[in-house]
Symmetry: C3
Subunit: 203 residues, 3 copies
């Protein structure tokens, strides 16, 4: 549990930094930066909680994450010029966050007694939908629909999680191997510039 919680914190930090940076790139004002950082960080988990009826939603019950996001965003604003050089480590953090949040989502589906395919969908939403809300609020087509194999890595991780879970593998092994799989897919995909096919309708 402690290992899990540490990863949750790491994911929250990474998503908050990425939200703050992207809000600054879009020239939002101070409040906008905090809101976008917040939404990127807790959006996916909030949608998950609302859909399964886990209310008040998580961030209302455990406020540690709120204070964390506020601190991290303030930090990002102060060190914004240095952080931009850190884009590569950000990408890594973001990928770690995707891995962790996917697992947390799948787990909450299993705990709520939902079917495997629903649990995988919950994992994907928890991992990806913070970014979807961020892009929608900033008036852009969510990048996960366009450029990168992002959600697909999350789905692959969710499927792997469910298979190992059915085989009754030890929990900690499931967490670690699933997270590593998601991170590996995403790193390889970006390194080799793989992207999903588009399908054009002939007219």
């Amino acid at each position: 549990m402690t290992f899990f919680y540490a990863l949750d914190i790491l994911g929250t930090i990474a998503f908050a930094i990425s939200g703050a940076l992207s809000a600054m790139n879009r020239r939002l004002d101070l409040f906008g930066i905090f809101i976008i950082a917040f939404v990127t960080s807790i959006g996916g988990g909030t949608i998950r909680d609302v859909l399964i009826g886990n209310t008040p939603v998580s961030w209302m019950q455990n406020t540690v994450n709120m204070y964390l996001i506020i601190s991290v965003t303030a930090f990002s604003i102060l060190f914004r010029n240095k952080l931009d050089y850190l884009k590569k480590s950000l990408f890594l953090f973001d990928t770690i966050g995707l891995g962790i949040f996917t697992i947390i989502g799948v787990e909450s589906g299993i705990r709520a007694g939902l079917e495997p395919i629903v649990s995988i969908a919950l994992g994907t939403m928890t991992g990806c939908f913070g970014g979807v809300i961020r892009d929608t609020l900033c008036n852009e087509i969510p990048v996960i629909f366009r450029k990168e194999i992002y959600a697909t890595a999350s789905i692959a991780g969710g499927v792997c999680f469910m298979i190992l879970y059915t085989l009754q593998i030890d929990e900690n092994i499931i967490y670690i191997s699933t997270t590593l799989l998601i991170i590996a897919i995403r790193l390889l995909v970006v390194k080799y510039k793989v992207s999903l096919p588009q399908f054009i309708v002939n007219k």
Copy 2:
């Protein structure tokens, strides 16, 4: 109930096809196509479930629709060039879906003991909001706000449903007549190019 369920399936299929086609027209990638098909198909019902507190939401409790949407989307991708010729039958399916989903929404409002006006609003949301989410995610002003008498047909159907319900007409007659009314309005409106008035503010 079986008659109703068959119509629900038909509506789900129609909305999934329309979502997949519109995602391909916008050149989204493979994952984007599945997500938009999914959202168009279950979005309205999900918002309805969340607002009345019916959680976990319907598609989590009955996964038949999820498998159905996945199959239909795969089918739409494979036969995308042929489907485009079918635009007219698609329009018909979409209209049938609008009719059915409106009724399902109104019914869940009545079952939850809500007032008539709220039940009608729920019916309209169930019928229309899948498309609203689809357009918002694709970064367009939802088409229902602009071009066609779409939601208005749904509202008219909902009002008709409530009147017949108050008169204690047989349920199956209500379902059929309301659905036919919505379909008829929409067909006539598109045929004769009726649209709602806009109101310009003089400056």
Copy 3:
């Protein structure tokens, strides 16, 4: 309670008028105008209710507001040319609405036994998110992220509310002073054209 309820009604009216006017400015059709007026008026409260699990959401339980919004929107359409001259009083009503809805949101957080920082966040959402949904549906970057100190006034009011509440000041005094504080901040900010700083990333 009666004083509170009267203010709620006033806020609902103000937000409905502002939604209807902004929909007409964007040339939406009749249905679009009603929907945007509705969403601007009840959007913030609905998100709050969904997040804390207060379902069916408020406007489904008390339909007075629905009839009120419909009447006010019809009124706005009929008198649209005269209302445009009233932009200044609209701005005032909108500001009053922001104040009231912030207080209502903070209160529902306290009543649900949530922590102060969460209650303040709920107040801000209740006050601001109707406008955020309106702008998102209309395909614009929400104005609160860009031009004006809007949400910041709401947050300041929420903090003030919590401080006075902790000091066990009389409830009615809290309501009035907090509302006045929010209104004062917003009036001064617009008069002196104060805006929040933006942070540009050097490249």
